[in-house]
């Protein structure tokens, strides 16, 4: 299949794909492989903030809860938010970008000013404001992150639309009396989507990091575990000063590995779709 073609040349790309697949798998079957219920608190004194043991491979937190289980359940939320937010961002971004590029004129100018406004709002601040105002539910978080990520997609799809718009088959369609909607969905969109997908991995990475930031600042969903939330609890307990590395190290490592995987995949995709024409040689 196509996947194999794309990643044939790239060692890092394959690595990224496999790693990501692993995490997605863990997220999907999480509840079945987690050794404990992450909410289950410990009872005895030596079950509290204990460093890794055989029964608790990643140790426990200050309430005696198993960290490994928290990480596994956290994977579900962190990845879910990452994918969902990115989807929102791409849908919104593509829609606005295509509309702006296709209709041009005043609509285009207006939409681009809106894009500018959103670009000026530092993404974290905007997300903070949205969640602080709307409440700390998972949907609000996804919405907030999606709102901060759509602008790049919008710009890309807009410029691509501008290019495609002038192509012969589109002009012909207009001459034949096709509706705008038809042209946009049947002609413009198929040419725009590949570019969007190539951009997706970056958006997903940023979404996952955004979720971590929001959770750390206390805007995460308190009824769930995520990697960012775990790090927050660790911070509030003073784990860093206490040297309780097992509490916050694994969560951050997971974030790093997942983001790196997406980056490698993105690079491999980029190489495949835009191979660098090495016509120019190095001079010195």
């Amino acid at each position: 299949m196509v996947l194999i073609e794309v990643f044939k040349g790239s060692v890092f790309g394959k690595l990224g794909l496999i790693t990501l697949a692993f995490f997605v798998l863990v997220a999907l079957i999480g509840p079945y492989i987690a050794p404990y219920d992450p909410w289950k608190t410990g009872s005895s004194a030596d079950e509290i903030l204990s460093s890794p043991t055989f029964s608790h491979p990643l140790g426990t937190d200050e309430l005696g809860r198993d960290i490994l289980s928290q990480i596994i359940y956290g994977a579900r939320i962190s990845l879910l938010v990452g994918f969902a937010s990115a989807s929102i961002a791409m849908v919104v971004g593509t829609t606005i970008g295509v509309l702006a590029g296709y209709f041009g004129g005043k609509l285009d100018a207006l939409l681009m000013r809106v894009v500018d406004v959103f670009l000026s709002m530092p993404f974290l601040i905007l997300a903070i404001v949205v969640v602080a105002l709307l409440g700390r539910s998972l949907t609000n978080i996804m919405l907030a992150i999606g709102l901060t990520q759509w602008t790049r997609t919008a710009r890309i799809t807009r410029s691509q639309t501008l290019t495609v718009k002038e192509r012969v088959f589109v002009l012909r369609g207009r001459a034949l009396g096709a509706t705008h909607f038809y042209l946009m969905t049947r002609h413009i969109l198929p040419n725009v989507l590949p570019l969007v997908f190539a951009n997706t991995t970056l958006v997903i990475s940023l979404s996952i990091l955004s979720e971590a930031f929001l959770s750390f600042l206390g805007l995460g969903d308190p009824t769930k575990f995520s990697w960012g939330i775990t790090i927050r609890y660790a911070f509030q307990t003073g784990a860093a000063s206490m040297g309780a590395w097992w509490y916050f190290l694994p969560a951050g490592l997971c974030i790093m590995v997942v983001v790196l995987s997406f980056t490698f995949i993105s690079n491999a995709l980029d190489e495949y779709f835009n191979p660098k024409l090495r016509s120019k040689k190095r001079m010195i």
């Binding site: 500018d116 974290l124 601040i125 971590a212 930031f213 206390g218 983001v259 790196l260 190095r282 001079m283």
Partner: protein, 318 residues
């Protein structure tokens, strides 16, 4: 210059829209603003009416908006709930502290990123290149607060990890103060610098690789210059041009960075201000900070455009 004029107008329009958005977000969305302004039970209708009149909340929306714009331009960003003081004053005070941290951190990240980018580009394809790429990419992929916590754990014994100064200390002279400041600043600034340098690294590396394929590089070699001179006088200056535009792109990440770093290290700047405001639902602070940061970003972008047009002779002399 036409381009700059166009950009100036765009920036002004954007700022205006930011004001609108800000107004809408905080006045329109959270239900009855009065109830939020005056929290706590036991609010009688009389008190609510009094405050409604005081804050002009019974006037039509566009009148409120007009008043909002006026107040903002006068520097009145409202009163903080928790501090019971004007937001503007608190903001400026904290801003000062944040800048003390941001300045060195940004300088280091740019310098480090550029240096490593040059080395990586020069030794492209070698083990050093791969290692540096993974190094910088790795730092770019981790949450800043997480790295901060790691540093606290590892270096906590050598450097101060809380606040900006040692509490209760008396400074006999400026030098003692600076020494203490440095002690407190080292870890947070280092954390921020390490995370931020990745972006500068990647851009410098790809730009320099590109410049090394250009003909003028060969001309420089033909003129008998040594490789270090070629890099220093010709290729690196060309590669550096796009960096100015890069700085404006980076601001969003920088903001996310300093908010969480300050929180982790208890640095009394804008970041901790925001953190506490979130905890305490202090909306005027949040609104003021959002406005301030958003407008700063617009100014920074515009400044970057101006700077770029001045340093690239192809744009300057058209």
């Amino acid at each position: 210059m036409d381009y700059l004029r166009k950009r100036a107008i765009q920036s002004l329009v954007t700022i205006f829209l930011i004001l609108v958005v800000n107004f809408v977000l905080f006045r329109v969305i959270p239900g009855n603003p009065v109830r939020i302004l005056i929290r706590g039970p036991g609010m009688t209708q009389e008190i609510i009416d009094k405050y409604t009149k005081l804050f002009g909340l019974n006037k039509p929306l566009h009148v409120q908006f007009y008043r909002y714009i006026l107040e903002t331009f006068q520097g009145n960003l409202g009163i903080s709930f928790s501090y019971q003081q004007p937001v503007m004053g608190i903001l400026l005070e904290r801003l000062y502290n944040t800048l003390i941290l941001l300045f060195p951190a940004t300088l280091i990240s740019i310098g480090l990123g550029m240096l490593l980018g040059i080395i990586s580009a020069w030794k492209r394809g070698s083990k050093i290149d791969y290692f540096l790429q993974i190094f910088s990419l790795g730092f770019w992929s981790i949450p800043t607060f997480w790295l901060g916590m790691i540093f606290i754990m590892v270096f906590g014994g050598y450097f101060a990890v809380g606040g900006m100064s040692t509490p209760g200390m008396d400074y006999p002279n400026l030098f003692a103060y600076l020494k203490d400041l440095f002690n407190h600043m080292f870890l947070p600034a280092l954390t921020l610098a390490l995370i931020m340098h990745g972006q500068y690294f990647m851009i410098m590396r790809s730009q320099l690789i590109e410049e090394l394929t250009e003909s003028y590089t060969q001309t420089a070699k033909a003129k008998g210059l040594a490789p270090t001179s070629i890099l220093e006088k010709h290729t690196v200056p060309n590669a550096m041009l796009p960096m100015t535009t890069l700085i404006s792109v980076n601001i969003a990440i920088l903001i996310a960075g300093f908010i969480t770093i300050e929180t982790v290290f208890s640095w009394p700047g804008l970041g901790t201000l925001i953190y506490k405001a979130i905890l305490q639902r202090d909306y005027p602070i949040l609104q003021g900070v959002l406005l301030f940061l958003a407008v700063s970003v617009v100014f920074a972008n515009f400044a970057a455009d101006i700077i770029y047009s001045q340093i690239d002779p192809r744009v300057k002399y058209e």
